[in-house]
Symmetry: C2
Subunit: 338 residues, 2 copies
Amino acid sequence: MRHENLPLLRALWRLVAACATTLLLASSVMAQADPLPSWNGGAAKSRVVAFVRAVTTEGSKDYVPPAERIAVFDNDGTLWAEQPMYVQLAFALDRVDALAPKHPDWKRKQPFRAAMSRDMKTLGEQGEKGLLELVMATHAGMTPEEFHAVVREWLATAQHPRFGRPYTETAFQPMLELLAYLRANGFKTYIVSGGGVEFMRVFAEKVYGVPPEQVIGSSIKTKYEVRRGVPTLVRLPEIDFIDDKAGKPVGIHKFIGKRPIAAFGNSDGDFEMLEYVSAAPGATLAMIVHHDDADREYAYDRKSAFGRLDRALDQAGKRGWTVISMKDDWRQVFPPTK
Amino acid sequence: MRHENLPLLRALWRLVAACATTLLLASSVMAQADPLPSWNGGAAKSRVVAFVRAVTTEGSKDYVPPAERIAVFDNDGTLWAEQPMYVQLAFALDRVDALAPKHPDWKRKQPFRAAMSRDMKTLGEQGEKGLLELVMATHAGMTPEEFHAVVREWLATAQHPRFGRPYTETAFQPMLELLAYLRANGFKTYIVSGGGVEFMRVFAEKVYGVPPEQVIGSSIKTKYEVRRGVPTLVRLPEIDFIDDKAGKPVGIHKFIGKRPIAAFGNSDGDFEMLEYVSAAPGATLAMIVHHDDADREYAYDRKSAFGRLDRALDQAGKRGWTVISMKDDWRQVFPPTK
């Protein structure tokens, strides 16, 4: 530090301190605006607001310092629509069609055979593992950059079959507001999904405001190599990690290394994540998006795309988890079309 | 937004705008102070400053938006001393002693036999894999929280045998300044080390200002379970990921999902990381800490704790990587003792 700067710095410091006070006042006025306008008043909304107030109020017994304010969100069915099928499955099916000419054996081999004929019943019977096999097999053999380009191109043109809008616009408006509200209150928001991490990383920042390094998902292995003089990674057709069920707390620990204090899910695949987060010391928030709105989205209740919502729903009351009724708690489901 | 607040908000907004100008002025004055006082003037320091200026100057051809400003640092030998042995190895050896009464077979089994007799030559011959086996075996069978407590307790009392100070104070002062300087310029700083991630997560935030979620390292598997009603993770004696050599770019991709633009290492174990980062489009910075200072630290030159520094040193010039001479480039090696 040059000494001749010190008096100037002191004067500046006083100004900065005054500014900080002003900013605090401004933010307190701003806070009076409803940060969750797409949520109807009710237990779910009140629970969110009370939790955020409790953990952000210095001096309160539930106060949590910003570095520990971690919130984790399942993706499919929690942040965006998962019906009539996982978006990544729709992508994989289109990708199977595109790659099929190079793989004549797929006609005789599950889950590819079912994929090519859009035989969703047989595909469903392959379970999450078969599904991931399909997804991974159609996603490998290229660099992450090449894969991102394929996904980006697909997302730019593909449309949700019922809502007639890009999949990226089937994100739930109330959840987008919730993500933003938590971040405005010092939370770091993560996606923790059974879906493929590289698929989600393409759109998570733009759609959810969640950067690539805060997306946790299932993955295939990658290998480092220098290809024709260019150092790169190559995606291998081999599963590395399944970020589902008991894998979710494992993934959270692996990637974040601290226990989150808020978790959001919509199926029994999220049960362990909700359970793990709820067991954190201090105040926690665990919520389940319940699909009970046939008019505006879907009402599949205790079914999920490839699983169930039984255990989590049955135990929600006892465990203090809040069930969000899409029908009653959400004023609006989707964002305005762009 | 409530309408009656609008005039107040407008007034506040003008104040905030004035504050922003003041803050900019303050930061510009601050910028005149040397952010790297422990670095001697010379090629290495100039390279760092020129790089940071280039990527942070809006409108410059090398400008990089803040979200893409990722810097990755090896730990052992790059951020802190790795001689006479890896700090984590010193921890593991003490841990072997503590656990030995429960493991009578260790007396007849490598690498434990060598560990217990501090036979460093034989231990070295077990290679990185043997070393990790030792580390992992002594680190498993407990929850992450329990492991953190053991490490924290050890770090509080263990001392570096030559420098007579806690290991956490053998961090290199110039690198601490470099970490802070990069962060002050919008960089997100990550550790990417062959060391165990949970070991580093205990002290990385306090010592380096790097939070747990920005520590990438080697890991053992964990398993989620509900133990006597308490949902928890348990560390398994099974290697999950080795974050070394070609594993470093793989780890970077897995955890960050973007290619960093700056990398710092000190051995051939960092070669692929330096190579991968240098191949990013646009301006990049790759630096190698060269241990050539027998008086103040160590002068092991082309040897590293369990590896070599040959390939990276030989190719540094050709590849535009900067070699940092600890002896010539650093005015001070360690921080003042606390």
